[in-house]
């Protein structure tokens, strides 16, 4: 790396010692940044600096750093997952920034995602939505030969589009109502589009929608913010399908 390409930025980061502690923004200068560096690698440098000065590094979550595990999630300059479209923050690179920029970094903000420490939040509520019906009840070894159940290619592709969700929670954070409808709609859609999911369609739709209420997620008011920030470009059409599934389930269910 050519030294002349290196630059510095100031990051303003949310610091909060624990779930019940008050938080505040703190500013740090980070130098020696190269354009090929990822945003999280820039935070790594910040943390190594803090550690060497005897301070406490900034807690933030990441794991695969290739956009698939869903661990990372930051609000960068007000943008959920940063300025790039349909990208996780771990895929954001410093070539999008310039020398001297002031970058504001905040945690996911949603009633259902309490802050644990600094930039890390608890997204366990999403797992509890899946437990409420985001599965097909077939025991291991019980299924027929895989090719015994043909699936229309277009439907299979549409199911895959929905299944691509990485469970990062960006949809909840971007929604003014804190709704988890894109997340839930994607799972309901995936399983409704596949014949294997057919027998439990009604039960699933009722169970997962009820669970969204129980967990404290809000409702949809057609803002489309969730689709705009989704790293996997999951479409709001999945919410429409969830609503149809829920309505249909209400009509036919005896519950």
């Amino acid at each position: 790396m050519n030294d002349s390409e290196q630059f510095s930025v100031t990051v303003r980061v949310w610091r909060q010692a624990g779930p019940k502690e008050p938080g505040k923004m703190a500013a740090y200068k980070v130098s020696g940044i190269s354009p090929d560096m990822s945003f999280l690698e820039m935070l790594d440098i910040l943390n190594d600096d803090l550690l060497k000065k005897g301070g406490n590094p900034v807690t933030f979550e990441s794991d695969c750093r290739e956009g698939i595990c869903g661990s990372c999630g930051l609000v960068v300059n007000g943008d959920v997952h940063g300025p790039d479209e349909h990208s996780t923050v771990c895929q954001l690179h410093m070539r999008r920034f310039s020398n001297g920029d002031v970058i504001t970094v905040e945690p996911w903000r949603a009633k259902t995602f309490p802050v644990l420490k600094d930039l890390a939040v608890d997204r366990g509520a999403l797992d509890r939505l899946i437990t409420a019906g985001g599965f097909i009840s077939t025991n291991t070894g019980a299924g027929p030969d895989a090719n015994a159940t043909p699936v229309e290619k277009d439907k299979a592709e549409e199911a895959m589009d929905a299944a691509a969700c990485i469970g990062c929670g960006a949809c909840v954070v971007s929604c003014p109502n804190g709704a988890a409808m894109l997340f839930t709609g994607a799972k309901i859609s995936q399983l409704a589009l596949l014949p294997q999911g057919g027998p439990e369609r009604a039960k699933r739709a009722l169970g997962m929608v009820e669970a969204m209420d129980r967990q404290g997620f809000g409702n949809c008011s057609n803002e489309y913010e969730c689709e705009a920030v989704c790293p996997k470009d999951i479409k709001v059409a999945n919410i429409a399908r969830m609503n149809r599934e829920f309505l249909l389930a209400g009509l036919i269910s005896e519950r």
Partner: protein
């Protein structure tokens, strides 16, 4: 240490069936009285937990993630192998078995690999049944693609996200059991120790990563589904939290560690861009279906790749291996890339890269077809490099990826500690000295969905269990030892960050213990590693408190284990004076420069037994015998 692989008698096709019949069963009403602790929630852990839960066992799952869905299996891209023979191209259980043994360079156990090939088909059936959206043809049936080391098309896939879809399938099956009350998930727990009582694995010590509390959990069996150790090399394709710690703790409690030197270097990764790099990103092997690998024919040719005419390109894989071409196995493709780069033919500014070119495939099939098959990979490449893979060839280079070595297990996937099982990448069992592409997902799910539920049940059904509880001395002693180690780390208060020291270790591992190994380099590493470890314990900086959400401490604990484990890896590499699969000893090559095995002296699994701190581990050998496959020089020409 006695190594009894417990391979069932009888012809290889019948072994698994007859073994399942001979295993003891637990009465359905009694199953809930057995507590099974599953550590790790990737493909192996999630599928084992789901299946054991369905059977009615009382399962606790421990994951260091905030959600079990984030385990690193999620990042597997290309696919999962199965011997379905749907394409009618001559595949069979026998051929998958054969390809896997050959792919592993005749260093895996025949009986285990045959069982894996048999189970492969059941995995596809089950995953389709639980809603995994596999790629399909217009007729509605499943589609397959080709992977390295096979001349049939047997790899099932979900675009470039097969690991994600299979993991989410296993995860959803497990969450169904959470709803059913048979499985309890304990997220943000890192296993710190295995608790052994009266010679049996009876529980674990885990650290709650949010509060720092050490917890003791007792059970009747412990399943380690904790993945591989490629992060020993610092830079690898693994996620940041992947570690060797659970397997290392088991080793220190008496579990044999097998073939630690078998580490796979994946040929198609995005090259590193600088010192800051925290990880390397894999580009799926499936890209080699359509991408052609080449370097300039002229040394140091720095022209942009599209300006280099056809006649001045060396498609070295197609040239050297005409039968398999770009789809040679990973170890061979990686070494070939290193050979051309070391000789000065490497591509790009650093010369540490080769081209993966889609020009011809786009011309033949259209950009749309390439996008449909690999769109997400091209997007990822663009996000990381700012370069468009449709317009110019990608630059790729090998990177540490997968560990074939792991805890030694018998046919039941039980380690040398009774009651302690190891599944998936954490064990050593199926891939020999080199894993074929799309076989990791197959093995993780075979172990978890089908093998462990039978063999763990057999173990529980046959055993008589003395009581065990967290109040026992063994549990409190274990927690005490873990606490001491944590306190030691916090007391160092040094000047170097854990990552800096890890990077130092990684440089030694990559330079001296990487794709090419020789006695001098390995001895050099054996000298340097204890020095770096010494520096670590004198000069590591870990701030913050023990009883807190402390990511620096978590990291330092993992790196402390890499500092010890790496030495065993090198000793194993030094001891194995042959080349086989991914283990390439420069002293042992054929006249054409290919790996030369030494079957007379090394046809065994090398199993290491811990002797205590500061003492040299003792080597045991499990001889490998081949009754069903004719052992031969491994050729892909």
């Amino acid at each position: 240490m006695k190594l009894d692989a417990k391979i069932p008698a009888g012809p290889i096709e019948k072994k698994w069936d007859s073994h399942k019949f001979n295993l003891k069963l637990v009465n359905p009403n009694n199953r809930r009285k057995f507590d099974v602790l599953v550590v790790g929630s990737g493909l192996a852990g999630a599928s084992a937990a789901a299946s054991l839960g369905e059977l009615g066992f009382n399962v606790k799952v421990f994951t260091l993630h905030d959600s079990p869905r984030r385990a690193h299996s999620i990042a597997a891209q290309g696919g999962i192998n199965a011997a379905k023979n749907y394409p009618n191209d001559g595949d069979s259980v026998w051929r998958l078995f054969h390809d896997t043994i050959k792919g592993g360079d005749y260093r895996a156990r025949e009986a285990n690999v045959y069982r894996l090939a048999q189970i492969s088909n059941q995995i596809i059936d089950h995953c389709a049944a639980i809603g995994v959206p596999f790629g399909r043809e217009y007729g509605g049936l499943l589609s397959t693609r080709s992977f390295g080391g096979a001349q049939v098309s047997r790899t099932f896939y979900s675009r470039g996200q097969t690991g994600q879809q299979l993991l989410l399938g296993a995860y959803s099956a497990m969450m169904r059991q959470v709803a059913a009350g048979t499985v309890t998930i304990l997220p943000r727990r890192e296993m710190a120790d295995v608790v052994v009582k009266d010679g049996y694995a009876r529980g674990i010590t885990a650290r709650n990563l949010l509060t720092g509390e050490l917890e003791s959990h007792a059970g009747h069996a412990v399943l380690l589904c904790t993945g591989g150790y490629a992060n020993t090399f610092y830079l690898s394709t693994n996620a940041g939290s992947c570690n060797v710690s659970a397997a290392w703790a088991a080793y220190k409690r008496g579990a044999g560690f097998a073939n630690p030197c078998y580490t796979q270097i994946h040929p198609t990764c995005i090259p590193r861009s600088g010192e800051h790099q925290s990880k390397l990103t894999l580009m799926s092997e499936s890209l080699r279906n359509d991408g052609r690998v080449w370097v300039p024919k002229a040394k140091g040719d720095k022209r942009p790749p599209n300006d280099i005419p056809e006649a001045e390109r060396d498609y070295y894989l197609e040239r050297r291996y005409p039968a398999f071409g770009n789809l040679v196995p990973r170890d061979i493709a990686s070494r070939a890339a290193k050979t051309v780069a070391d000789a000065g033919f490497g591509a790009g500014a650093t010369g540490q890269a080769v081209y993966l070119d889609f020009r011809d495939a786009i011309k033949r099939k259209g950009a749309g077809a390439i996008k449909a098959a690999y769109g997400n990979l091209f997007d990822m490449y663009y996000q990381i490099t700012d370069e468009n893979g449709y317009k110019a060839p990608m630059r790729i280079y090998p990177a540490p990826h997968y560990a074939m070595g792991g805890l030694w297990v018998d046919y039941n996937l039980m380690t040398t500690i009774p009651g302690l099982f190891a599944l998936g990448e954490a064990n050593f069992s199926d891939h020999g000295a080199n894993r074929l592409g799309a076989s990791a997902l197959m093995q993780g799910l075979a172990d978890g969905f089908f093998v462990a539920p039978a063999t763990v049940g057999g173990y529980l059904g046959a055993g008589k269990f003395a009581p065990a509880s967290p109040a026992d001395k063994e549990f409190t002693d274990s927690a005490g030892e873990v606490r001491d180690r944590i306190n030691r780390l916090l007391a160092v208060k040094g000047k170097k960050t854990p990552s800096e020291l890890h990077r130092q270790l990684g440089n030694v591992m990559w330079n001296d213990v990487g794709m090419g190994r020789n006695e001098a380099g390995l001895n050099k590493a054996l000298k340097k590693i204890p020095e770096i470890r010494g520096e670590f314990w004198k000069n590591v900086a870990v701030s913050g408190a023990d009883k807190d959400f402390n990511q620096t401490l978590e990291k330092a604990m993992k790196i402390a284990d890499f500092m010890e484990f790496s030495e065993l890896l090198v000793r194993d590499a030094l001891e194995r004076k042959e080349s086989c699969g991914a283990h390439f000893r420069e002293e042992s090559v054929t006249p054409e420069g290919e790996a030369r095995r030494d079957d007379a002296n090394f046809s065994h699994a090398a199993v290491w037994e811990y002797q205590g701190e500061g003492k040299a581990a003792v080597l045991h050998k499990e001889p490998l015998t081949f009754e069903n496959i004719k052992i031969a020089e491994r050729s892909y020409k």
